[in-house]
């Protein structure tokens, strides 16, 4: 098979009842355009979500419909070409963050983002994935992290934390209840997280560990759209967790890591886990409700919360971060469209790793800017390290002077001293 055949074969593999139903239902109303950051901020019709799926639609029609098959038999249909897939590559990767807003907007109920995710399987198999994302995936497979961080980097953070807090950071502790996984951005840039979770878990009395062979949660395979590669990356975490016999794996503050670990993971490896997956924010809220997480002092700063797409629309974690914020932030305000309808930072779904997409990503930050301008806050809290980087980047390009902090760190800053 050449790459084109391989790509088309992958799409034929991926087309299932939902996809066939979605294409059957589409009435070309164009409403999904309004839900897409890339359309609303550019007004370019080619960014209409359903249009990004045109090659997949044609393959469905030609391979899975009565008339389509008939037309193909008669040689009356136009097969999908390599050039076409190449032309669609920027639409499928650069202008889609897999944010899933279109799936909520579609009046006939099409889960458009589900189809984009599936279409990427074919795109990457046909060789049409962005170079930046390819590089990130190669690093993730080869080096263990898309950003090139490794165990040594983590070990340095662990040392610092132990020195700073006087607490020990458990590594490869068999039989712990929880196994913490980090995102590569956290390891590379927001290493305070190691200290934050160490202190919080110490206070709450959580039995936890990290794994030297499964600490990286970021899954570039999901973003580039290859289940094969995603499975390889994910299986490292699964192996470590099952080796250490933990009950739970904690997903880091990283949207796609959560999706990969929580929802796609068992399907990627083809079996259920022997553990459960919980997002760090879910766990913190759970500790709060059990009275095990106690804070003191308030941060009077006017702050807001940026909902990561994979947490809310694709993850169902909406209330938990707010419960936590209310513990420490009396001046917390919601952005317009907060919660399930929040607008993407612009860098999800692999866009942040795709240098070619950067100008477009910066341009569409105007939506986030408008949301922020509407409420006038000083600090943005979020629970996704990729969102955090994208927000910082966007703010800088727009000369906006706002702080961006991770929610876990914010809680850790206000942690009450251990009472006993």
């Amino acid at each position: 098979m050449n790459t084109l055949q391989r790509g088309i074969n992958a799409m034929i593999e991926q087309i299932d009842a939902p996809i066939a139903t979605f294409f059957t239902s589409c009435v070309h109303c164009g409403l999904c355009a309004d839900s897409c950051l890339f359309y609303t901020e550019t007004q370019d019709p080619k960014f209409t979500p359903i249009y990004k799926l045109e090659p997949l639609r044609r393959i469905w029609q030609q391979e899975y419909t009565f008339w389509g098959k008939l037309m193909s038999q008669l040689g009356l249909s136009k097969p999908v070409t390599d050039a076409e897939l190449a032309a669609w590559e920027p639409l499928v990767y650069d202008s889609c963050t897999l944010c899933g807003r279109c799936s909520l907007a579609c009046p006939v109920g099409n889960d458009i983002v589900y189809m984009v995710r599936k279409m990427r399987e074919g795109m990457v198999a046909s060789g049409h994935a962005p170079e930046g994302l390819k590089g990130a995936t190669q690093r993730a497979i080869g080096l263990g992290s898309p950003m090139g961080v490794n165990l040594n980097t983590l070990m340095a953070h662990i040392h610092n934390t132990e020195k700073e807090t006087g607490l020990s950071v458990p590594l490869d502790k068999e039989g712990a209840d929880y196994m913490m996984v980090l995102s590569s951005a956290e390891i590379a840039e927001y290493s305070e997280i190691v200290s934050a979770v160490t202190r919080i878990f110490h206070q709450a009395g959580v039995s936890w560990t990290m794994a030297s062979d499964g600490f990286e949660g970021t899954n570039s395979g999901i973003q580039i759209g290859s289940s094969d590669l995603a499975a390889e990356l994910l299986s490292r975490v699964v192996r470590a967790a099952e080796r250490l016999k933990v009950k739970y794996v904690i997903s880091p503050e990283c949207g796609h890591a959560y999706t990969a670990l929580r929802w796609e993971g068992p399907n990627l490896i083809g079996r259920p886990y022997h553990f459960e997956v919980i997002h760090i924010i879910e766990l913190l809220d759970q500790l709060r409700s059990e009275g095990r997480l106690r804070t003191e002092g308030l941060d009077e700063t006017r702050m807001t919360f940026h909902d990561p797409c994979q947490m809310v629309r694709r993850g169902g974690v909406v209330e938990q971060p707010r419960n936590l914020l209310h513990m420490v932030a009396p001046n917390f305000v919601e952005m317009p469209d907060a919660g399930i309808q929040n607008w993407c930072c612009g860098g999800g779904g692999g866009v942040s790793a795709n240098e070619r997409a950067e100008p477009l990503r910066i341009k569409v930050f105007s939506r986030k800017k408008a949301q922020l301008d509407a409420i006038g806050v000083d600090t943005i809290v979020t629970s996704c390290s990729n969102c955090r980087t994208m927000l910082l980047d966007g703010l800088e390009h727009n000369s906006m002077n706002l702080n961006v902090v991770g929610l876990t760190e914010l809680i850790a800053e206000h942690l009450a001293p251990a009472s006993k």
Binding site: I15, D16, A17, P18, A20, T21, F22, T24, S25, C26, V27, H28, C29, G30, L31, A33, D34, S35, Y39, T40, Q43, P45, K46, T48, I50, Y51, Y64, F66, W67, R101, S103, L104, A105, C106, P107, V108, G109, N110, D111, Y114, R262, W263, E264, G265, P266, N267, G270, R271, P272, E276, V312, R313, R314, G315, G316, V318, D337, I340, Q341
Partner: protein, 219 residues
């Protein structure tokens, strides 16, 4: 064939042909869609697929996110068209007569004045939507021949029906024949075109809602 024979044909054989193609086509198409199957997720669910899927099937008819002016236009005109079409289809006494003859049960009709308004609004909305499809860059990009064909096939029954009610243009026999014929063309076209969304929409919504429900997403 004289006009009476033609009318008799469209009321009889024509309708049988159209109904057969429509039912066969839709039964095939809907079942074929579902039978393609989907993988059952191995992840631990946070909520119910069925409950939320069923909820979205219904709810997506009413809850729509914030939209731009062009989006609002599509939604408002779309609502008017669909509602007007359904009201005239199911609540004009003549249509109930027809359905009663097939289903063996009926229901009360709406007053003619209401039907008139619904039909006029529906026709106006369809024309507006056609113009919008031509001038709006997004819709124009998405549109192909089928979008215009299905528009025409949907518009004709509305138009001929309205002309029939108001005795505009041709005589009653001719208009009734044209009206029934246009409905038959529409019925025949449904299984082969995007008009199949009349049923598949609800399946789409279920899949979408089920996926969200599985993850415990509450819109």
């Amino acid at each position: 064939m004289n006009p009476q024979d033609l009318l008799y044909w469209v009321r009889g054989t024509g309708l049988q042909i159209a109904a057969a193609i429509f039912v066969l086509g839709m039964s095939y198409r809907m079942l074929h869609l579902v039978l393609l199957g989907r993988k059952k997720s191995l992840a631990i669910p946070r909520g119910s697929e069925w409950a939320y899927g069923l909820r979205i099937m219904w709810q997506r008819s009413f809850v729509l996110p914030e939209l731009s002016a062009r989006g609002k236009f599509t939604v408002v005109a779309g609502y008017i068209f669909h509602l007007g079409f359904l009201i005239t289809l199911f609540f004009l006494s003549q249509h109930i007569d027809m359905l009663r003859a097939i289903l063996k049960f009926g229901w009360p009709a709406l007053p003619r004045s209401v039907i008139d308004i619904a039909a006029i609004l529906s026709i106006a909305a369809m024309i507006a939507l056609l113009v919008h499809r031509i001038i709006d860059p997004v819709k124009r990009l998405l549109s192909d021949f089928q979008d215009y064909l299905t528009w025409a096939l949907t518009f004709l029954p509305l138009l001929t029906g309205f002309m029939l009610l108001r005795s505009i243009g041709f005589g009653y026999t001719t208009l009734l024949t044209l009206h029934i014929l246009s409905v038959e063309l529409l019925l025949i076209a449904i299984p082969f075109t995007k008009l199949a969304h009349m049923f598949s929409t609800f399946v789409s919504r279920w899949y979408n809602g089920a996926s969200a429900g599985f993850r415990g997403v509450k819109a």
